[in-house]
C-alpha cells in the first residue's frame, strides 16, 4: 500500500518536472499531496498514533484543498498566460531530474527507507522548479513540493511531539498563503509574475 | 682641555697675513701669464680703500645684508682659531673637524642669502649655483673626515696633524684623498674650474654675483673673509695631509723650522692653485657638477683600498 503510494508520488514528481502548463503542475501537486496525506493516514491506521492522523488531515486540508484554490484563483484572476517559460527545456529537465534522483539513490543505497529516497526526489524536483522556471508562481509551487519532501522525511523519521509537527505544517501553510498574497501584489505592481522583471535592485 | 697660548698667536698670524698670501697668489698668476702684476700688498690697499668708503644698501635689503658681512667675517676668523698652523700637540683641546666644517656653513648660508636679499637677478643666480655646488661638495667633506678618522682614529685636527706628522711616506689612498680635498678646496672657495674669482662677466659668476650689491666696508669684510677662508682651507690641507715637519714641541728651533717648512708648503700650494687657474678654463656649471661624482668615486676607491689592501 505505502509502497504504491510512494511510487505514485515519485512518478508524479518526475512527470511534473517537465510539464509546461501551470494547471497540470498544480494537478500533479494536488495528486502528490493527496498521496502523502494518505500515507500519513495509513501509518496512523497501522500504528494508531494520533498525530499521524493530524498530520494527514492538515496535509490534505492545506495542500489538497487550500493551495490549489489559491493557485487557480490567482491563475484565473491574474489571467497570466498558462505557459510557464522554461529556462531549461522539458527534455533537459527530465534528464536532470533523472540523473539527480539516480545520484541521490546511489548515495543512499545503504538505507532502505523509501520515504527518504522519495523525499530527496521531491527536493530535487522542487529545486529544479525553483531554479529553472521563470514564473514566481512556479517558484512557489517548487517550494511547496520541496516542503512535501520535508513532510515525507518527517513521517519517516522518529516521531516528535504533536505541537512541533503541527507547528511545522502550519507554518508551511502560512508560507504558502503569504507567497500567494505576494504573488497578487507582484502581479498588481509589475503586471506580470515573471521574475525577469526583478531587475531594479542594483547597487 | 687646555688652550695653548701659542695656538692664539699662530691663528692671529693667519688673519693678518692672509691678504698678503692672496697678493702672492695674484702675483704668481700674473707672472705665469707673463705680465708684471700688481704688488703683493695690493689686497691690503684694496681693503683699506673699501673701508674708507661709505656704503650703499639696496632698499630691498633686510637684516641679512646689515649683519651678514660682519658675521661672515667673524665666522671665518673664528675658524682660524681652531686649526694648527705650524705648531701642534696631543693635548686634549679644541679643533674638532666637524665644527670646523660646519662653521663654514655659517659663511655659506649668509652669502647665499645676501645674494637673494637684494632682489636682483644675478644675486639669485649666484646663490642658486653656490647652493648647488655646496650641496654636491657635502659628500666630499664627509669623505675627507671619514678618511682622516680611519687613518688616525681621531676627529681633532691638532691630533690628526700630530699623528700624521711622523709618517714619512704615505699610502696611495692618502694621495687620492689629498686630490679629493684639493678639488674640494677649489669648489668651496669658488676658484676655477668651478667659478672664476676675477671675472667681470656676471653670467659666469657665482661668489662675485652674490655680493654684487655690497659696497664699502661690507664688501671689505666679505673679501677679507674669502681670503681667510682660502688660507684656512690650505692650512687644513697642509696640516692634515702633508704635516711632516710641523713643530710638535715648544722649542724655539722646532718652531722656527716648523714655520719655515709651513711657509714653503703654503707657497707651494699657492703655486699649485695659480698653475691650475692659469691652465684650466672655467667649466660650465653642470660640467663642474660632474666632477663631484667622479671624486666621490675616488673616495670610495680610497676607503675600500684601506680595507682590502
Amino acid at each position: 500500500m505505502i509502497e504504491a503510494l510512494l511510487t505514485i508520488i515519485l512518478i508524479s514528481s518526475i512527470y511534473m518536472s517537465g510539464v509546461r502548463r501551470i494547471k497540470l503542475l498544480t494537478g500533479g501537486f494536488v495528486f502528490q499531496s493527496a498521496a502523502i496525506g494518505l500515507i500519513a493516514f495509513k501509518l496512523g491506521y497501522d500504528t494508531g498514533e494520533v498525530h499521524y492522523y493530524v498530520l494527514a488531515l492538515l496535509t490534505i486540508i492545506t495542500k489538497v484543498i487550500i493551495m490549489p484554490l489559491i493557485i487557480n484563483k490567482s491563475v484565473k484572476k491574474l489571467k497570466i498566460n498558462r505557459e510557464m517559460e522554461l529556462m531549461v527545456n522539458a527534455f533537459n529537465s527530465y534528464i536532470l531530474t533523472g540523473t539527480g534522483i539516480m545520484i541521490a539513490f546511489g548515495l543512499l543505497n545503504k538505507s532502505h527507507n523509501n520515504f527518504i529516497k522519495t523525499g530527496i526526489a521531491l527536493f530535487i524536483i522542487g529545486v529544479l522548479l525553483m531554479v529553472a522556471r521563470k514564473k514566481a508562481i512556479t517558484q512557489m509551487l517548487g517550494f511547496l513540493i520541496f516542503e512535501n519532501g520535508i513532510v515525507l522525511f518527517e513521517i519517516s523519521l522518529t516521531k516528535m511531539s504533536f505541537v512541533i509537527e503541527a507547528g511545522i505544517v502550519f507554518e508551511g501553510l502560512m508560507l504558502a498563503l503569504i507567497m500567494g498574497i505576494m504573488i497578487f501584489h507582484i502581479n498588481k505592481t509589475f503586471d506580470s509574475i515573471n521574475t525577469d522583471s526583478f531587475e531594479n535592485l542594483k547597487e | 682641555m687646555k688652550y695653548n697660548l701659542f695656538y692664539f698667536i699662530q691663528s692671529i698670524l693667519i688673519v693678518v697675513l692672509s691678504p698678503l698670501l692672496i697678493g702672492i697668489l695674484k702675483k704668481m698668476k700674473a707672472i705665469l701669464r707673463g705680465y708684471v702684476g700688481s704688488s703683493i700688498l695690493q689686497p691690503y690697499y684694496d681693503l683699506e680703500k673699501l673701508l674708507k668708503k661709505g656704503r650703499i644698501i639696496s632698499n630691498r635689503s633686510s637684516f641679512i645684508t646689515t649683519i651678514g658681512p660682519i658675521i661672515i667675517l667673524g665666522a671665518t676668523i673664528t675658524t682660524a682659531f681652531f686649526i694648527p698652523v705650524f705648531y701642534t700637540s696631543m693635548e686634549k683641546s679644541i679643533g674638532n673637524l666637524f665644527i670646523l666644517m660646519f662653521a663654514f656653513a655659517i659663511v655659506k648660508i649668509f652669502t647665499v642669502l645676501i645674494g637673494l636679499d637684494s632682489s636682483s637677478t644675478f644675486g639669485g643666480m649666484g646663490s642658486s649655483r653656490e647652493a648647488f655646488i655646496s650641496m654636491m661638495a657635502e659628500p666630499l667633506m664627509l669623505f675627507l673626515i671619514t678618511f682622516l678618522y680611519i687613518e688616525t682614529k681621531d676627529f681633532n685636527i691638532f691630533h690628526i696633524s700630530f699623528i700624521n706628522s711622523n709618517i714619512v711616506h704615505f699610502k696611495m689612498e692618502h694621495y687620492i684623498a689629498m686630490v679629493t680635498f684639493i678639488i674640494c678646496i677649489l669648489a668651496e672657495n669658488a676658484r676655477i674650474p668651478f667659478d672664476n674669482p676675477e671675472t667681470h662677466l656676471e653670467l659666469t659668476m657665482m661668489h662675485e654675483a652674490m655680493i654684487l650689491d655690497l659696497s664699502g666696508s661690507d664688501l671689505a669684510y666679505v673679501e677679507l673673509s674669502s681670503y681667510i677662508k682660502l688660507v684656512v682651507y690650505l692650512i687644513i690641507l697642509i696640516n692634515c695631509y702633508i704635516p711632516m715637519g710641523i713643530a710638535t714641541t715648544l722649542t724655539a728651533s722646532a718652531l722656527f723650522l716648523g714655520f719655515l717648512i709651513f711657509i714653503i708648503k703654503l707657497l707651494f700650494c699657492l703655486l699649485g692653485i695659480a698653475i691650475i687657474e692659469t691652465t684650466f678654463a672655467k667649466s660650465r656649471l653642470f660640467r663642474g657638477a660632474e666632477i663631484f661624482p667622479a671624486t666621490i668615486a675616488l673616495g670610495i676607491v680610497a676607503i675600500t683600498l684601506i680595507y682590502i689592501l
Partner: protein, 486 residues
C-alpha cells in the same frame, strides 16, 4: 515565573493593534511593553550573574549565559527601535504614505517578530528554535514589503523564497540530526540541554551531513555569503526600524542557533574540524561584503553589506575558537547590534528628510542635519572598530585569536578586509557629512531634531558597554565563553 509574564506581555503587545482603533495607543503599549520586557531580562541577568542555568516547563525553556546575551541584545534593541518606530509610523501616516490600518498592522507584525526572536533565544527545543526562525521569516516578509512598491516587493519575494529554502534545508538537517540520536526517550530527544550533556551518537556520517545542512540552511538566514543575496535588498528596502532590528538582532540570533547545534557536536570525536565551516564561510562573507562595500550608491545597502561583514567576523571568531577569539566574537555581536541599529536609525532619519537613498544626492549633512551627522560619524567609528568603542577590542581580540591559533593567512585576509571596509565607510560617510559642492547653499533642515532620542539611547548604551567592559560585562561574556569553549 518570568516566562509567563513575558508571554502575557507579548500577548498584550500583539493584540493591542488589532483591538484599539488609535495608532498612538498601540505605539505607546509597544514602548511600555518593550521596556518591561527589558526589565524582566535584566532581572534574569542578575539571577544568572555567576553562570548556571534556569529552566521552565520541564526544560522547554532554558536560559544560560549564552542565551542571556541574546536576550539582552533583543530586549534593549527592541526598546530603542519601538521608541523610534512610534515617531516613524506617525510621520508616515501624516505624510499619507501609509494608511492608519497598515500602521497598526506594522505594530502587530513587529511585536510578533520580537516575540519570535525572544522565543528562539529562550527555547531549549531544537525544533522549536527552527519554528521560531521560520516565524521571523513569516513576520518580516510583510514588514519588508511594507510600503508596497516594485523594489520592496521584489526584495520581499527574494527574501521569502531564499530564506524559506534555507530554512527548509535547515529543517532537513535538523530531522536527520534528530534521527541520528534515536533510541533515546522521545521527550528528551529534542532538548538541547539533554543532547549537549550526553553526546552518544550512533551515526557520525549522518551527523556530519546534518550539521552541514543545518549550517548552510540556517546560515542563509544568518546572511553568510554566498547565501547572503537576499540581505542587501531586504535591508535597504524595509523600513529603517525593521532593518535595524533585522541586522542587529535577527542575523546573530540565527548564528546563535547554529552555535547551539555546534556546541552539541563539538565534543564528539571526529567532528572537531566542523569549526572550519565557520571559518570558511566567515572569510567568504568578509571578502565578498568588504569588496561590495567599495562600490555602493545606496547607503542602506552599504549598511546591509556591513552587516554581512560583521556576521562574517563573528562567525570567524567563533570558528577560531580560542577563548580570546570567542570572547571577541560575542562582544562583537553585542556591539554590532547597537552600532548597526544606530546607523540604520540615523539613515532612517536622513531618508525621511531627504527622501532619497542615493549617496551622491546627499552633501554637507553637518550643515543641514548636524545632530544626525554627528551620530552618523559616531556610528561609523563604532562599526569600523575605532577605540574607545568596544568594537575595537572585539576585532583586536579576534586578530589575537587568529594569530594565537596560527592561522596567519586568515589573519592577513581578515585585516585586509577590515581595511577595505574601513576605506569604503570612510569614503562614503565623510562624503555625506562634510562634502559640500561649490556654489550650493545649505540650510538647516528642521527634521533634524525629530527622533534623535533613540539614537542617543543607542550611543549611550555603547558608552555604557565600554565602561562596563572590564567589570560586569566581561564576566557575563566570560560565562558564555566558558559554555562555548569547554
Amino acid at each position: 515565573m518570568y516566562i509567563v509574564v513575558l508571554g502575557i506581555l507579548f500577548l498584550i503587545m500583539t493584540m493591542t493593534p488589532l483591538i484599539s482603533k488609535n495608532i498612538k495607543i498601540s505605539g505607546l503599549v509597544t514602548i511600555l511593553g518593550s521596556i518591561s520586557v527589558l526589565g524582566i531580562v535584566l532581572k534574569i541577568i542578575t539571577l544568572l550573574y555567576d553562570g548556571g542555568a534556569l529552566n521552565y516547563f520541564n526544560e522547554f525553556f532554558y536560559i544560560d549565559s549564552l542565551s542571556i546575551l541574546q536576550l539582552l541584545i533583543i530586549a534593549s534593541i527592541n526598546v530603542i527601535v519601538s521608541i523610534y518606530s512610534r515617531k516613524y509610523i506617525e510621520n508616515e501616516i501624516d505624510e499619507k504614505v501609509i494608511s492608519n490600518r497598515r500602521g497598526k498592522f506594522y505594530y502587530f507584525l513587529f511585536n510578533f517578530f520580537v516575540f519570535f526572536l525572544m522565543f528562539i533565544a529562550l527555547t531549549n527545543n531544537i525544533v522549536a528554535m527552527w519554528i521560531g526562525l521560520e516565524g521571523t521569516t513569516l513576520t518580516t516578509a510583510f514588514l519588508i514589503g511594507f510600503n508596497v512598491n516594485k523594489n520592496s516587493l521584489e526584495s520581499a519575494w527574494k527574501y521569502i523564497i531564499i530564506c524559506s529554502i534555507g530554512i527548509g534545508i535547515g529543517l532537513i538537517g535538523i530531522l536527520i540530526f534528530v534521527n541520528a540520536y534515536t533510541n533515546q526517550d522521545a521527550n528528551q530527544i529534542l532538548k538541547w540541554s539533554h543532547l549537549v550533556k550526553n553526546p552518544n551518537i550512533q551515526n557520525i556520517y549522518a551527523i556530519k551531513i546534518a550539521f552541514t545542512l543545518i549550517f548552510v540552511g540556517i546560515g542563509t538566514k544568518a546572511g553568510l555569503a554566498p547565501m547572503h543575496t537576499w540581505l542587501p535588498d531586504a535591508h535597504s528596502e524595509s523600513p529603517s526600524p525593521v532593518s535595524a532590528m533585522m541586522s542587529g538582532v535577527l542575523l546573530n540570533l540565527a548564528l546563535y542557533v547554529i552555535l547551539r547545534f555546534y556546541l552539541i557536536i563539538k565534543h564528539v570525536p571526529g567532528l572537531e574540524n566542523t569549526k572550519w565551516l565557520f571559518i570558511i564561510f566567515g572569510c567568504a562573507s568578509l571578502v565578498i561584503s568588504s569588496f561590495s562595500i567599495l562600490r555602493q550608491t545606496n547607503y542602506k545597502r552599504l549598511l546591509a553589506f556591513s552587516s554581512v561583514e560583521n556576521i562574517g567576523i563573528i562567525a570567524l571568531g567563533l570558528g577560531v575558537g580560542s577563548k580570546i577569539a570567542v570572547f571577541g566574537a560575542l562582544l562583537h555581536s553585542l556591539v554590532h547590534a547597537f552600532g548597526k541599529s544606530l546607523l540604520f536609525l540615523t539613515a532612517g532619519n536622513i531618508l525621511s528628510a531627504y527622501k532619497t537613498k542615493r549617496i551622491d544626492k546627499i552633501n554637507a549633512l553637518i550643515k543641514t542635519m548636524p545632530i544626525n551627522a554627528v551620530f552618523l560619524i559616531l556610528g561609523m567609528l563604532v562599526i569600523t572598530g575605532a577605540p574607545p568603542f568596544p568594537a575595537f577590542f572585539s576585532e583586536y581580540y579576534i586578530i589575537v585569536g587568529t594569530v594565537e591559533t596560527g592561522n596567519y593567512i586568515i589573519t592577513a585576509l581578515y585585516s585586509f578586509c577590515l581595511l577595505l571596509v574601513f576605506a569604503g565607510f570612510l569614503k562614503v560617510f565623510i562624503k555625506i557629512v562634510f562634502n559640500n559642492e561649490a556654489g550650493e547653499k545649505y540650510v538647516k533642515i528642521e527634521e533634524d531634531k525629530e527622533n534623535t532620542l533613540p539614537l542617543a539611547l543607542c550611543f549611550i548604551s555603547i558608552i555604557v558597554m565600554s565602561l562596563f567592559m572590564n567589570s560586569y560585562l566581561s564576566s557575563m561574556i566570560n560565562n558564555a565563553v566558558s559554555i562555548i569553549c569547554d
